[in-house]
């Protein structure tokens, strides 16, 4: 029930207003501002999700070094991480068609990310067999099955 209108010189009015503001602030749920992500386009979608072609790659200090690959035209989203946090000497052999499709004549334009799965026991594994590669200049990406995929693990355990 709103308070009765108080004269503007009545100091009680000012105190009342301040108090109400404070209450409103503490009741609000803090929704952190998430910086807009990098829009990535996957012309082939992801394996099993061929129609999920558009994603936003979002970074947040809460997730670091993981990033959030958020689906923008479908519900599926993924947590991803550069494989260098898990393994040394991981190299992805791209088929010629993939090099052409992603325009990766310059290797330096390539960014590799691996999809992470969180398990019931709180452990995390990452997929080294089907990494995501995107061109940081064109922002086109693809889930690649490297030529050496047979030797690569689907669920490589992450430490810590």
């Amino acid at each position: 029930m709103p308070p009765a209108a108080l004269h503007q010189n009545d100091c009680r009015a000012m105190l009342t207003i301040e108090h109400k503001q404070q209450e409103a602030e503490s009741r609000a749920v803090e929704v952190p501002e998430i910086k807009p992500g990098v829009p990535l386009h996957f012309a082939s979608g992801l394996l099993g999700f061929e129609t999920n072609k558009n994603f936003e790659l979002i970074s947040d200090e809460e997730l670091n070094p993981y990033q959030w690959l958020k689906g923008t035209d479908a519900d599926q989203s993924f947590l991803v991480i550069p494989p260098s946090f898990a393994v040394e000497n991981y190299s992805v052999e791209l088929a010629e068609d993939d090099v052409v499709m992603l325009e990766l004549n310059d290797q330096a334009d390539a960014v590799v990310l691996c999809i992470a799965t969180y398990h019931l026991n709180e452990s995390v594994t990452i997929n080294l067999k089907g990494p995501i590669v995107y061109n940081k200049k064109t922002l086109q990406g693809k889930q690649i099955v490297p030529l050496n995929a047979a030797n690569l693990p689907l669920a490589h355990p992450m430490g810590n």
């Binding site: 952190p32 394996l47 969180y118 689907l154």
Partner: protein, 74 residues
Amino acid sequence: MLVLSRKLKESVVINGNITVSILRVDNDNVRIGIEAPKEVNVMRYEIYEEIRKNNQAAADSSVAKMKAKLLVKN
């Protein structure tokens, strides 16, 4: 499933832009050649299934994690 019989060197066309050719036939091994647009993924079934399932599990598992980390900040 559409079932066809082909002899060595014969082909099948899919969707007007994918061609599957029989290159070699041994006793229990068939060598198949596939031409398809770059955007069309072609791979052995087992690898596709493995990665598809992993993607599904990853997507399912990430939901709670992302909600916990990103929507409730202390």
